[in-house]
């Protein structure tokens, strides 16, 4: 099955800093989602991004499917950005999202 590697595993930022989170996957995928898991455990949808670039406020994401990676950019980070960020490409059949171990982000004021 698809293997997903996310880096870095942990990231500590000062409020206002920018960051890039990376997701590598081992096989071609038809779609990919990024999630933010808040401290209460809720998985919040950030992007559904099989390819190309999307932006939503301070966040943007780019997936280069042919090179098997996706990037999540966070600009001007805020303390509320803290939590775990997961990348999850789908298997070929679209029946399952395959999650990486996530990047744990801590933003301090």
């Amino acid at each position: 099955g698809i293997q997903v590697e996310q880096s870095p595993p942990d990231l500590i930022l000062q409020e206002g800093a920018n960051s890039t989170l990376r997701c590598n996957f081992s096989d071609s995928v038809n779609n990919l989602q990024w999630f933010h898991q808040n401290p209460w455990g809720q998985l919040i949808n950030l992007f559904y991004i099989p390819s190309g670039t999307k932006q939503n406020g301070r966040l943007s994401a780019t997936t280069v499917a042919t090179e098997r990676y996706s990037l999540l950019y966070i600009s001007s980070s805020q303390t509320t950005d803290s939590g775990v960020y997961f990348c999850a490409p789908s298997n070929q059949a679209g029946t399952a999202l395959i999650f990486g171990k996530g990047t744990t982000l801590s933003v301090s004021s």
Binding site: N30, F99, K101
Partner: protein, 113 residues
């Protein structure tokens, strides 16, 4: 409903008991997924329903785990003879179809003592 709803939010049970976890998907979503998340790990796929049928149950760890979705809406995950290793957060998600954007519920935290 407005979002995916899971009940109960917390469940404590004794080793060996039977438990049922419920998921109410977003209205109109025909695809439903169950995942399990252990501490410090990403969610792990268990089973996928398209309508009433379990189209992919490759993630179920053993035959103590079973799930149903009899009317193509609400789903129940059933765990028999629970073990302490079953303790985890069980997450449900739904989407319009396979490979489309999936939305997660808040999860059920299961603790087996």
């Amino acid at each position: 409903g407005a979002g995916v709803s899971q009940t109960p939010s917390n469940k404590v049970t004794e080793k060996g008991k039977y438990v049922e976890l419920r998921c109410d998907p977003i209205s109109g979503h025909t695809a439903l997924y169950w995942y399990r998340q252990s501490l410090g790990q990403g969610p792990e796929f268990l089973i996928y329903f398209q309508g009433t049928g379990a189209a992919d149950d490759s993630g179920l760890p053993n035959d103590r785990f079973f799930a149903v979705r009899p009317e193509g809406s609400v789903s129940t995950l059933k765990i028999q003879r629970t073990e302490r290793g079953d303790s985890a957060v069980y997450l449900c998600a739904s989407s319009y179809g396979p490979g489309t954007e999936a939305f997660f519920g808040q999860g059920t935290r299961l603790t087996v003592v």
